[in-house]
């Protein structure tokens, strides 16, 4: 188990970023998705991500990258030392997939559900060994942001927490372990704030740039909430807000019309080249 194989499920923005992080730290990765075209893009994005990480000094020096294998066959994860599920932010999809995964891997393999807000215990019901299920909330890009929120579910075993913290340490991440709740800590605080920032813009109080500039200059936010929305992906943000609204009843979490409109138009943020800002150089 010197170099455990990391299985990553879902080759979207987060799955690709986590894969990049792992191979960048020398661990082999098998990245699974249902769509070959998505995997093709993920391979290219991983190569770009590794360059990005090297550029800003986010990779350990002198370590050869791990091998990245991509596949559409879930059976290829059987030998994994840890599984990271990073599919779309919907409890039903995560539950169905992790139930299947728990029958494929060896007992003792941590099942890590990467989510920005779905309570881990909702999924634990359906896996074979609920003690092996744990949550993480990586930020985007996972290979640049060194802090990770870790979620201990009601049934998560201590051994699972230990093993995942060791893995994160190996990936050069720092972790804070929190209890299970909708949106945990970071999304519970950040997502309604971004939602409000979009409302502020819709109401004509200030422009996108003005909102971000004020939040940066007055409150020390590193990029501003609307640039953060573009980085998260506005579709993902709406999914997470929907999760939060359904579980907390907090009206500040009901996705604002401007966010919904952007999703309808395909203006999803950085990944689509356009969101609150234009990213034509970074896209494609």
């Amino acid at each position: 188990m010197d170099d455990p194989l990391i299985a990553v499920l879902g080759a979207g923005v987060m799955g690709t970023g986590i894969s990049t992080l792992a191979v960048g730290h020398g661990l082999p990765v098998v990245l699974v998705d249902v769509d070959e075209a998505v995997l093709e893009r993920a391979r290219a994005a991983t190569a770009t991500g590794l360059r990005h990480a090297q550029l800003v000094g986010a990779l350990p020096p002198g370590r050869a990258p791990g091998e990245l294998r991509t596949t559409v066959s879930l059976d290829d994860i059987a030998a994994a030392g840890a599984v990271v599920e990073a599919v779309t932010e919907r409890a039903d999809l995560k539950t169905e997939l992790l139930a299947k995964v728990s029958t494929l891997v060896r007992p003792g393999t941590p099942l890590i559900s990467n989510t920005s807000g779905i309570p881990i215990d909702e999924i634990a019901e359906c896996v074979q060994r609920p003690g092996e299920l744990i949550g993480t909330h990586f930020m985007n890009p996972a290979y640049l942001i060194s802090m990770v929120e870790v979620i201990r579910g009601r049934r998560t075993a201590e051994a699972t927490v230990k093993s995942v913290l060791a893995l994160l340490g190996r990936l050069g991440r720092r972790a804070v372990v929190v209890r299970d709740a909708p949106g945990f800590v970071t999304s519970r605080l950040l997502h309604p704030m971004i939602n409000d920032a979009a409302r502020v813009v819709s109401e004509g109080t200030a422009t996108v740039e003005e909102v971000d500039t004020l939040m940066q200059g007055c409150l020390g936010h590193p990029t501003g909430p609307l640039r953060t929305a573009d980085l998260i992906g506005i579709d993902n943000l709406v999914d997470s807000l929907t999760v939060l609204h359904a579980r907390t009843g907090d009206e500040r979490c009901r996705p604002s019309e401007l966010l919904l409109e952007k999703v309808r138009r395909g203006e999803l943020g950085r990944k689509s080249g356009l969101g609150f800002y234009v990213y034509r150089e970074a896209a494609s």
Partner: protein, 94 residues
């Protein structure tokens, strides 16, 4: 042939990079200004700078060149472009 390097082009390269930074960030930097220390650029924008230089000047930034210090100022980026183009010209048909 067009890869031949003229010394006077450095200022043209600097101007083009500065215009790109101004367009993307809303701030027009000085040639020697540290874009990262002064908050004009961050780690996300760093990659956009690399991609911009590679596409605009048909160069590849790799290996030891792929490090933030090369992208700190307009001047350091222009110098990198100048060196990579000179190396490409020397490696090519000349």
């Amino acid at each position: 042939m067009s890869a031949e390097v003229h010394p006077e082009l450095a200022s043209v390269v600097e101007e083009k990079i500065a215009a790109f930074v101004a367009e993307k960030t809303g701030t027009r930097p000085e040639v020697g200004q540290d874009l990262f220390a002064t908050g004009v650029a961050n780690s996300m924008f760093a990659l956009e700078l690399v991609v911009f230089l590679e596409r605009t000047y048909a160069v590849t930034v790799a290996g030891a060149d792929l490090q933030l210090p090369n992208f700190r100022t307009i001047g350091s980026m222009a110098a990198l472009v100048g060196r990579l183009r000179a190396e490409a010209a020397a490696d090519g048909d000349g």
